[in-house]
Amino acid sequence: MSGSAAGPPPGKRPLRKLIRGLRASAPGRVGLVLLAFLVVTAVAVLIIYPRDFASAYWSNPAHWADNPRSVPPAWARLVYRPGALRHRIISSTEPTEREETARAHFSRWDFPVDYQAAEPPTSIVVTLREVTFAARPPIVTATLVRPDGGEVRLFREVISGARPGESAPYVRHAEEPFRHVARGDGAAGESLAGHYEAAYGVALDSARLRDAFEALAFGHVVEGDLEPLHGEYTLRLEAMLAGEEDAVTEARLVVGGSVFGVMGTDAWGRDLALGLLYGLPIALAIGLATSTVSTLLGTALGLVSGYTGGRTDLVIQRAADIVANIPVLPLLIFLVFIGGSRLWLILAVLVAFSWPGLTIMVRTMVLQLRHGPEVEAAVSLGASRGRIIAYHVFPHTASYVFAQLVFFAPSAVLAEAGLSFLGLGDPRIPTWGQILEHGFRTGAVFLGYWWWVIPPGLLIVLTAVTFMLLALGMESIVDPRLKGARMWRS
């Protein structure tokens, strides 16, 4: 019952007891499974992701140039967009085939594209990265081989040659890749028109070629109408290299579609799945760091306040009363706005406002323990104050304290998300709240881009619910008074 503030009977190992109790309760078990899942995923993300993911990839628009903007995930085809074409990026560092003749070396790449969608691609883009040559510049040719046997020459380009004063080996397109967009290219249009003329006897004017290049390249004429031509296409890329050491490091074909990847993309073309995964370790870190520090602070102040008494007690309790009654979000907004959007500052402010509830509770427990038989016995045996607090007072409050630790975590995650949503998130560290904010600011909500705004929120909720379930699971072991604890939320 809540009347006996001494809490649970003293345990030598409160943490072990707590975990055993968690496994005995249904919400606790679900919470533990979810937590394990989240932690394993977060660790995997930390291992797999590059260290500079946020700066070099996520916040770098050039990295996402080949992706479509604001498109739903590929599985949307199964639900409500059956005819949509999946956006495809095929890239390779190793040529499919090499050939040596007396005059030159040839590197060939074959990119197979199985086209079955009802809609034509939105773009056909060929990209080359890092071309190296010793003397004569390479010549690159791209040809689209269609299922009807037609071959459409997309381009034939000579890589820019040696500049005066430059010495071999020459490296081109290392920073800025060579990028060829088929639509609007005169030569590609002519080649396609030639194929239509020969195969279907249809003359294409230049306006039609410009407006519907992809539909024509991936289509055929049936009874006078342009229809999608389904089947296996191959994009053949050939680099004619003069020297032994000449090479193209990476070749890439982008067939633009209207659905992308596992979670779709945002307005920059960023792969939302990557951003959502990256947010997980950050959210867990925010939750755990804030709750650990506030719990330590709250417990320490509570122990000191309760055990020391006198003026210290009075000052701590008055301070706790005041801080506990400050509405957190307005001040959080103000302080982070003034101090700058730094994650550590956000967490520090959260800690600064979250200790009082625990301090007041721990003090109440300590007051009752202080005059109990255990402490009196220890005092009469001459134990030091530190020893008494550590061995005879703290263990009695420990399980309550651990429960609070779990209880603080969701509030911190929610508060950071809310702050990010207002545009005050740390721009160097992408979080779920910031993904949502970006979506909201660019109108994703009002355009119905559900894949952009639902998943990050669901993940915030999942993380918070995990900690809530753990707290709920501990409740029976700890104390029903947990409910009265201060909560902040956004």
Binding site: V328, P330, G423, V445, V453, I454, K483
Partner: protein, 356 residues
Amino acid sequence: MFLRRLVIRALTMLAVLVAVQILVVVSLGATGYSDRMLQAVIGEQLRGMRPGLAETIRDPDELEAALAAQRIELEQAYGLDRPWYARIPSMVMRVFRLDLGEAHTLRSFSGSNRVADIVLERIPNTIILLTTAMAITAVVGIAVGTRLAGRAGSRIDRAVSYGSAVSYALPAWWVGILLILVLAFRFPIFPSGGMYSAPPPPAGLPRFFDLLHHAALPVLTLVLASLGPYIYVVRTMTITIAQGDHVLAARAKGIPERTISRRHVLRVAAPPIVTGLILGLAGTLGGSILVETVFGWQGMGRLYYEAIAGTPDEMVIVALTFMFTLLYVGARMILEVLYVLLDPRVEAGERAEAVR
């Protein structure tokens, strides 16, 4: 005795207000914001003086000299010749009076750029939203929570307990986004934002109904986010009281169960239920800031978003932080008075403390 509780609360709230003020002013001073703000105020005043001075002083150099002298005088008057910490008291008063100069880019609905005008006209909009949501939460929460308490441990009770845990984990603003996606975008039943249609319908009943139509989603959002925890608090407090000795005694006397529930449980549970509202107040207030942002509701919360985005308007943010604290303190005191009114017993304060 119950007056004592009120006085203590009032003093605490006053201390909260002062503490927030000092925190705000110290942060502004330490980061140099207060200097910049006062310089801007002085600049405005000097610009106002220039035409008047130019009429009497013809020589441009003399005019500049006179303005420079005025500037020094004003700087002294505003205390800019002293370090920022010497100005804390005057800055606190300044924030208290919302005498914070002019906003950079934000304007009030009537076009004024004074920070006080911009912030003050938004207060009623925030209060409408907040009070409606809290009233609905209170009524539904008490109705459901007390009924659940009578069925503690049943399947529905457990389901609602889980539901309130999830509700606690729901960010209100995200719920708002979901509601917009479903009820404004997919099925256009409600408007996705704003307070009135454009153009607004004629004043009177049509405009009132237009306001209700626009308020439906934000209010629903706030209620959904705060209802879960509140139901749980009401339920738990009712159960605690139903297990009390006085209820056992009443039962032993043979008093009918309905009378016990009404007179011995609900009547006693009323004050702690108000406590539940007090506990949820800060959360609902914070929630309203973000929900207003989502729905473009022209209250103080939305103003925060507008002051942060684009050209930041520092002084509007200072004024809002203070006004939200004031709003919280005010709402809190109303609930405290309600608590005392509902709890005529002398030992009220102590009891409630034990429950909280």
